[in-house]
Assembly symmetry: C2
Homo-oligomer: 277 residues x 2
């Protein structure tokens, strides 16, 4: 038996090439075929998770997406999130905090977006911004952001204990690939709205961000909420890897359709008596 | 030129056969082909609407789904909502009101779920429950639910003036088709979780509901927020009709990618100076 998808991608960020393909399809066409099958599996598993919650189950899944600008967080939501029933998704995008959010503890806005039972939550950025940009741009003193590693692992352990299976993915791209994607956004009028001049400011601090990511991932990689590093220079490989990771995670959760809390035969009789049929 | 999709389905509920196919594909296979093309159109239009809002646009779309149990509200969310990027959707399901919701005006919980600019909101049930079940089950006095027709049209006119294009769909099924779908839910263990014994109580009041629907649609069918009656005994036709309705609506809105608020050439130069590329 080879390694599982989860074992394969649970590696330190500085030990993975953004173009690596340690597992799975070797080319885009094969990946597309596998995505069809993964989509069917994910759709079925997600429906069972949703149904389980209708029956009183408390389990949910939370996919946390982090990565530099253009690394593909939005692409994963579109191409992997798009594989399942949108009713079963809860998508939250965390931008620069508002004044109200800043007046609260940094986890306040995060807690409000934790998926309810039965849903797959997807976070486009997350509480990790509070140990990434907060560190690189010195938004808070070092002792504050350092203290957050423990606050984060405590929070995530609490969620896990409540039934939320957390899957944290760092979308790992190279500096060169980011440049190409930014050029593409500038060149295509239908993509220009995705371009933000501020992205270049973050790009100018690439090594500081890589260091911040490496330490954040190392300090918060716990079994209750592991980090996966996804080689993301190839979009099709990135999408395949995350779909495969989710499918493996949900397969292990093995969500169950609930047993009816009513008498099926009695309902059949009532229905027959209700006319027409 | 034939009638538009919107004209075709803007008809009184008591004048449309739930198996009618006044427009569009004649069989399931043709509908499946057309859905692929509609999906591509919807996806592009929705992306443009989303982008327009990033550029400061204020427009949004709100699809309101009403219909008897099993009429396919969830199916439309899955099969039509599933055609676009889930990040561009805002789905809200309105169940029996909570104590907190009941302590507020009936539109309070609705207002909280109005889609933000750039999104397609989908309401699985809505404020129309407050003139349907509220009437049939006499939850409030007649003068109260009658007064709500005006409150609703005022509310919807306000939303329309703010830039929300409202598309209200009544999923019209026959009593016989409902019986078959309820039997199917009882028979299939993977569908049983969708069955609720309370559905038979509403079924027993079929004529009262049809009367409540007919009057509600007549009283709230305004140009700012028209009602469409969707023949829904055939699931594939229902999905096609709503996808076609949305595509026509969005095509007319003609959302525009925003003009950049930065100097594209200057950004190209900054990017070139940022190394690697």
């Amino acid at each position: 038996m080879g390694k599982s998808v989860r074992e394969t991608f649970r590696v330190p960020v500085d030990q993975l090439d953004p173009r690596a393909r340690p597992l799975g399809p070797r080319d885009k066409a094969t990946a597309a075929e596998e995505m069809v099958e993964l989509g069917e599996r994910l759709d079925q598993l997600q429906e069972a998770l949703y149904a389980e919650a209708i029956g009183g189950g408390r389990r949910a899944v939370l996919l946390v997406l982090q990565g530099m600008d253009t690394s593909g967080k939005g692409g994963v939501i579109r191409h992997v999130g798009g594989l399942v029933n949108p009713q079963g998704l809860h998508i939250a995008t965390f931008k620069k905090p508002t004044d109200e959010e800043l007046a609260h503890h940094f986890l306040w806005r995060i807690r409000r977006q934790v998926p309810v039972a039965g849903r797959i939550g997807i976070f486009d950025r997350s509480h990790y911004e509070d140990v990434l940009i907060a560190r690189v741009d010195e938004l808070v003193p070092e002792d504050v952001w350092r203290g957050r590693y423990t606050e984060i692992t405590a929070f995530e352990s609490e969620l896990a204990a409540q039934g939320v299976t957390i899957v944290k993915c760092m979308l790992h791209i190279s500096e060169k690939e980011q440049a190409e994607r930014l050029v593409a956004r500038l060149d295509d009028p239908a993509k220009r709205w995705k371009y933000n001049p501020g992205d270049l400011d973050a790009r100018a601090k690439w090594p500081a961000y890589q260091e911040a990511y490496a330490e954040a991932l190392r300090r918060t990689d716990i079994d209750a909420a592991p980090w996966y590093v996804i080689p993301s220079d190839r979009k099709w490989y990135r999408n395949w890897a995350i779909a495969a990771l989710l499918a493996e995670t949900l397969t292990e959760l093995d969500p169950q359709f609930p047993q009816p809390d009513f008498d099926v035969d009695a309902e059949r009789a009532r229905l027959a008596a209700s006319g027409v049929s």
